[in-house]
């Protein structure tokens, strides 16, 4: 699997899953645009690590929850590069509250960043991928289909993200663009530490049949596969990367 000469944009790639995806695609030869919003130092470190792999890296700050910032980001990419081969919609945020406590602000914040961003970015990406056989992968989570405490609005946003991924897969197929999603269970990242603090995830290791937590690299490996020509006939799917958690109900029931 070689991505030599390809250009990839990974949103939210300063840290966590996005960083692992950026590094994986870079290791296969792709030049990477590292998008970040709140953590510039991390983004610049990711860019350095990408360059150490012998490919180019560009850092762009943009809040993907803000349509004007999405436009600015793609204007810049259009002007500087004029094309794009791979788009990974990874940036996410959320408000950890039960349904009865979710106000309009928390709902909109989460939906705008987690779901609407894919729609607005895809609209811009399509033009940059014209005639290039592009790949789009969105990053979802098991919360799209399973209920986790206080994960309500994030889970709903991810369910909508997966549905949008299916629609995009069909609508963009005639443009030679492959669109899929990857949904992970709890992944060992900074974001997870936040949820540990919030009491969402007690210890995923105990409920993962594969015997360990999912790592960012596990997600990145599947994303890289979906960006390869070998995955050409996979369209509109959400590939679950969870070490068997979602099908291993015995583990959830405490064995």
């Amino acid at each position: 699997m070689s991505l030599e000469g390809k250009l990839a944009l990974v949103t939210g790639s300063g840290r966590g899953i996005g960083r692992a995806i950026a590094l994986k695609l870079a290791s296969q030869g792709a030049d990477i645009i590292v998008n970040f919003f709140r953590h510039r130092e991390n983004a610049e470190q990711t860019a350095k690590d990408i360059e150490a792999l012998g490919v180019k890296a560009e850092v762009i700050r943009a809040n993907v929850g803000d349509p004007a910032k999405i436009d600015e980001m793609f204007d810049m990419i259009g002007n500087k590069f004029g094309h794009l081969d791979i788009f990974i919609s990874n940036a996410a945020s959320g408000v950890g509250r039960p349904a009865v406590d979710i106000d309009v602000k928390a709902w909109e914040w989460t939906m705008d960043i987690n779901t609407r961003a894919l729609l607005l970015c895809a609209q811009r990406v399509v033009k940059l991928m014209e005639g290039r056989g592009g790949k789009i992968v969105s990053i979802s989570s098991l919360g799209s289909r399973f209920v986790l405490p206080n994960y309500t609005v994030v889970g709903v946003s991810k369910a909508a993200l997966e549905a949008l991924t299916r629609y995009l897969a069909i609508e963009l197929a005639p443009l030679d663009i492959c669109v899929n999603a990857v949904a992970a269970s709890a992944v060992e990242t900074e974001a997870l530490k936040f949820y540990f603090k919030e009491g969402l995830v007690k210890d995923s290791r105990q409920v993962t049949p594969a015997g360990r937590m999912v790592l960012p690299e596990d997600v990145a490996n599947v994303v890289a596969f979906l960006c390869s020509e070998e995955a050409f006939m996979i369209r509109g799917q959400t590939i679950i990367v969870d070490g068997g958690t979602s099908v291993g109900l015995f583990a959830l029931a405490g064995k």
């Binding site: 709140r38 953590h39 809040n63 408000v95």
Partner: protein, 81 residues
Amino acid sequence: MTVEEQIRDIIAKITRVDKSIITRESTFKEIKADSLDIVQALVAVEETFGIEIPDEEAQKFQNFGDFVSYVENRVAQGEKV
């Protein structure tokens, strides 16, 4: 308007508290600002003053005064206003 007044207006608008209760000593809890309110305030302040406030810095703010002082310093350093 001073930097302090502008930031006070931004936060009061987001948290919908009466801006007269926001003093330099007010903690974010006292202003009824949750983590989402704080991020939205950071974004609004960044746009207003044309600066970038990394989370690493924002996490050090103990109260409204810390937030204001940080922005005042950045603006004084010749950042675009």
